[in-house]
């Protein structure tokens, strides 16, 4: 047992060492993943690569649906990126590339859905809700403004109120014995 006890400094060193190793492993892991796929030449044209990444940010990886094509490591995403690279090398414009992807996978590949009859509700929905809510609020405020203070209280009621206000005995509906709650407890 004693031999296994490490001084704090050693412990920290070991911790740092294993943390470093872990970071190295995480760093390398994607490279290992790619080893099985034919290596894609991605460093030979930085300009094209930058253009690809900009475009891929706005495209959805169709198998890992909450990732963009730029960040995904799925093999299909790698293939698609290679496909886009090739289209770009062939001189296709960004719009043409996106169009050809939409032709295969539908609007689903776009993170920003296009404005068309099918998506009007999607785009206008939030604004409609906002305006609807504002309308309701305005309506209820205006309705309350219109209400006049009610003056038609009967004479009997006024007299009763005056009597209660002038009454000398404080009136407790439940009687003093029944009073409970914090004030009562504090007295004890």
């Amino acid at each position: 047992m004693d031999q296994e006890v490490r001084t704090p400094v050693e412990g920290v060193a070991v911790l740092k060492g294993s943390l470093g190793l872990l970071i190295c492993l995480l760093w390398l892991a994607p490279e290992w993943g790619m080893a099985s796929v034919p290596a894609a030449p991605n460093a030979d044209d930085p300009a094209l690569e930058a253009r690809l990444n900009r475009l891929a940010e706005g495209l959805r990886c169709v198998v890992c649906q909450n990732e963009s094509l730029a960040e995904s490591r799925a093999s299909l995403a790698l293939d698609l990126r290679e496909e886009i690279r090739e289209m770009m090398r062939a001189g296709m414009s960004d719009d043409a590339v996106v169009e050809s992807l939409v032709a295969r996978y539908g609007d689903f590949v776009l993170y920003r859905p296009p404005l068309k009859p099918l998506t009007y509700l999607l785009w206008a929905g939030p604004l409609a809700f906002l305006l609807g809510g504002a309308g309701l609020a305005m309506g209820s405020v205006l309705r309350r403004r219109m209400l006049r203070p009610q003056a038609d209280v009967s004479a009997d009621a006024l007299r009763e109120a005056a009597r209660l206000l002038q009454g000398s005995e404080p009136h407790s509906p439940r009687g003093t014995d029944a009073v409970s709650g914090p004030t009562h407890r504090e007295e004890r």
């Binding site: 169709v62 198998v63 299909l76 939409v102 032709a103 295969r104 996978y105």
Partner: protein, 172 residues
Amino acid sequence: MRRWGPLWLFAAVAAFLYVGLYLNPKEVPSPLVGRPAPDFTLPVIGQPGETFSPSEVRGKVWLLNIWAPWCSVCLEEHKHLPRLVDGRVPIYGLTWKDLDREAAPLLARNGSPYVAAVDDRDGRIALRYGVTVTPETFVIDRHGMIRMKHVGPVTPAVWTRKFEPLLKALQS
């Protein structure tokens, strides 16, 4: 009338959620349906020197089944396919990313459900068909148009419900 407002709101939200329960996010609607099937020429697995191209089957209704030797669901599907198809329609296989070249011995061992299985080793043709998962099956008509895409295995139930009526209509 006013007091029913919350109830109507609840009913509307519940209806949306109920429908949402049955939506499958993996079933990406394919815009390829109703469009010409992308053309290709690829080597046929197990027959060196031979190639297959969709233009060879122009004039026929045919099926294109995307599969891969590493896809266990596809191999399970292979067992049912011949019985379901029953020779009524030619079925071709597109072998997706057979990087380890397992397809040829596998088809030889298990028996091939295909007229021919082509080798799409780098997966480029599958991309053109908008494939996201294996297996996927396309129904292609006499004019080379894609008429249906089925994602997932073709089970007997799927065959009777989706494939049979469509094939009957296309072949008549």
